[in-house]
C-alpha cells in the first residue's frame, strides 16, 4: 500500500514515532509546556485561517449540506462508539460514556496530519474542511455526557461547566476565530500572513508531533492495564466511524480528498477538548481509560494506518 508507506515515512509521522520511542526509553525529550501550548495555538489558528479562506471562496450554499452531515455524524459516532464499547469491554456506565464522548469529538492533529498528507500527494480537497472540524468538536462531547445520564446526574452543575469549558476553551475559540478571520480577510491581506501560517505549517507540525509522540508513548505504558477489549475497541471504533464518515462525505458530494478528511474527523478521538470537559463533568470516570484509548492507541493508529485507509476508501468510492 504505497499511500501507507508514504504516510509512515513522512517527517511528521517519523517525528511522532521518535517521540514515542523517546518516551519508552524514558528520555527527557519534551517541549516545555509553554511551547507546547503555543504550538497548539498556532496549529489551531492556522487550520482556522485556512478553512476560513476556503469558506470565503466556497460560499454558504456549498458548505451547508456537508456541515449538516457533520452535525449528524457528531451525534451518531459517539453512539456507535458507546455500542462497540458496551460489547467489547466491561467498563462502568460512566466510563463508557466518558470514552464515547472522546470518540464523538475529533482530533485536530489527526486532521492536520491528513491535510499535510493530501497536500504532499497533490490530492485536492474542499478548502473549507476545517469548518467541519469546528462543527464536529462539540456535539460528540455533549452526547457522551448525556449518555452518562443518571450515573452523572449528581454532577449536573459540572455538566454546565463542562459545556462552558468546551465553548470558551482555546481549541474552539481559536478555531472558530481563525475561520472568521480567514473568511473576512481579503485574499491580498491573507497572502500577507500566509508565509507564517501556510508555508511554515508542515515544519511546525513536525515539532508538535514529536512532543505528542512523547505524550502518547507515556500513555502506551497504561495499555496493558486497559485490557484487550478496550484495545480492540480503540482500533475498531475509528475504522467503523471513519468509514462512515467517508461514506457520508462521498454521499453529500465531497471530493475523495474531502470525504477522506471527513472520515479522519469522525474516526479520530479528541484528546484536548474532550478530556478537560469530561474530567469536569464526569469526575467519577477513570481518565486512564479515555486517555489511553484516545491518545495512546487511536491517535497513533489513525496517524499511521487510518488516514491512508480512509483516503484509499474515498478514492475507491469517488
Amino acid at each position: 500500500m504505497p499511500a501507507a508507506l508514504e504516510t509512515v515515512t513522512s517527517p511528521a509521522v517519523l517525528a511522532f514515532l521518535l517521540g514515542v520511542f523517546a518516551a519508552l526509553l524514558r528520555s527527557d525529550v519534551r517541549l516545555p509546556d509553554a511551547v507546547h501550548t503555543a504550538l497548539s495555538s498556532y496549529l489551531l489558528l492556522a487550520i482556522g485561517l485556512k478553512g476560513g479562506a476556503g469558506l470565503r471562496e466556497a460560499g454558504l450554499a456549498e458548505v451547508a449540506v456537508p456541515v449538516l452531515a457533520a452535525v449528524v455524524l457528531g451525534v451518531v459516532t459517539p453512539l456507535l462508539a458507546w455500542g462497540a464499547l458496551r460489547v467489547l469491554t466491561r467498563l462502568s456506565p460512566v466510563d463508557l460514556a466518558a470514552v464515547a464522548a472522546h470518540y464523538g469529538s475529533t482530533s485536530l492533529v489527526t486532521f492536520t496530519a491528513a491535510v499535510a498528507l493530501l497536500e504532499s500527494q497533490d490530492e485536492p480537497y474542499e478548502a473549507y474542511a476545517a469548518t467541519l472540524l469546528a462543527v464536529l468538536e462539540v456535539p460528540g462531547i455533549l452526547v457522551g455526557l448525556l449518555l452518562a445520564g443518571g450515573a452523572a446526574a449528581a454532577a449536573g452543575a459540572g455538566r454546565r461547566e463542562a459545556v462552558r469549558e468546551i465553548l470558551t476553551g482555546r481549541s474552539i475559540l481559536l478555531l472558530t476565530g481563525g475561520l472568521a478571520i480567514g473568511a473576512l480577510s481579503t485574499p491580498a491581506s491573507y497572502d500577507n500572513v500566509a508565509p507564517l501560517f501556510v508555508t511554515l505549517f508542515p515544519g511546525v507540525l513536525v515539532l508538535f508531533l514529536l512532543d505528542l509522540g512523547v505524550l502518547a508513548g507515556r500513555r502506551l505504558r497504561d495499555v496493558p492495564a486497559a485490557g484487550p477489549g478496550l484495545v480492540v475497541a480503540a482500533i475498531a471504533i475509528p475504522l467503523v466511524n471513519g468509514s462512515l464518515g467517508v461514506l457520508v462525505g462521498t454521499a453529500v458530494g465531497l471530493s475523495p480528498g474531502g470525504a477522506a478528511l471527513l472520515g479522519v474527523l469522525t474516526g479520530s478521538a479528541s484528546y484536548i477538548a474532550a478530556p478537560a470537559a469530561v474530567r469536569l463533568a464526569l469526575p467519577q470516570a477513570n481518565p486512564a481509560y479515555y486517555l489511553t484509548t484516545s491518545l495512546g492507541i487511536t491517535f497513533p493508529f489513525n496517524l499511521v494506518l487510518g488516514i491512508p485507509l480512509y483516503l484509499a476508501l474515498a478514492r475507491t468510492l469517488g
Binding site: 505528542l212 505524550l215 507515556r218 478530556p275 478537560a276 469526575p283 481518565p287 486517555l291
Partner: protein, 100 residues
C-alpha cells in the same frame, strides 16, 4: 514588629479544577491567593491534563475560621472526585487586617 497569627492554607490540585477552585475559594472568604504550577504525583495517579499544564499550587493567608470553611468545602465537593490535597500551617503576618 508586631505580628498577627493567621494560617497559610496550601491547596495542590489538578489543573482542570483551577477556575472552579479559585471561585469557591473567594466565596469561602479568601481575600487573595498566589498560584504556581508544577508537576507531581499523588495517590490517585490522575493527571487528566498532563499535556496542558500540570498541577496548580494555591497558597492563601486567611483566618483559621475561613480556612476551616475552605477545608469543609473541599471535603464536600473536591476530595471525593478530584485529585486535590490541602494543608494548613500557622503563619505570622504584619498588617493582619489585610487577611482577616
Amino acid at each position: 514588629m508586631r505580628t498577627v497569627p493567621v494560617v497559610c492554607l496550601t491547596i495542590v490540585a489538578e489543573a482542570v479544577v483551577e477556575a472552579r477552585l479559585l471561585r469557591d475559594l473567594e466565596a469561602a472568604g479568601a481575600r487573595g491567593w498566589t498560584l504556581t504550577s508544577g508537576h507531581g504525583r499523588g495517590t490517585s495517579h490522575i493527571d487528566a491534563s498532563d499535556w496542558e499544564g500540570a498541577n496548580v499550587r494555591i497558597e492563601t493567608l486567611l483566618s483559621s475560621a475561613a480556612a476551616d470553611r475552605v477545608l469543609g468545602m473541599l471535603a464536600e465537593h473536591y476530595f471525593p472526585q478530584f485529585a486535590v490535597v490541602a494543608w494548613v500551617t500557622p503563619a505570622q503576618v504584619v498588617r493582619g487586617d489585610k487577611f482577616l
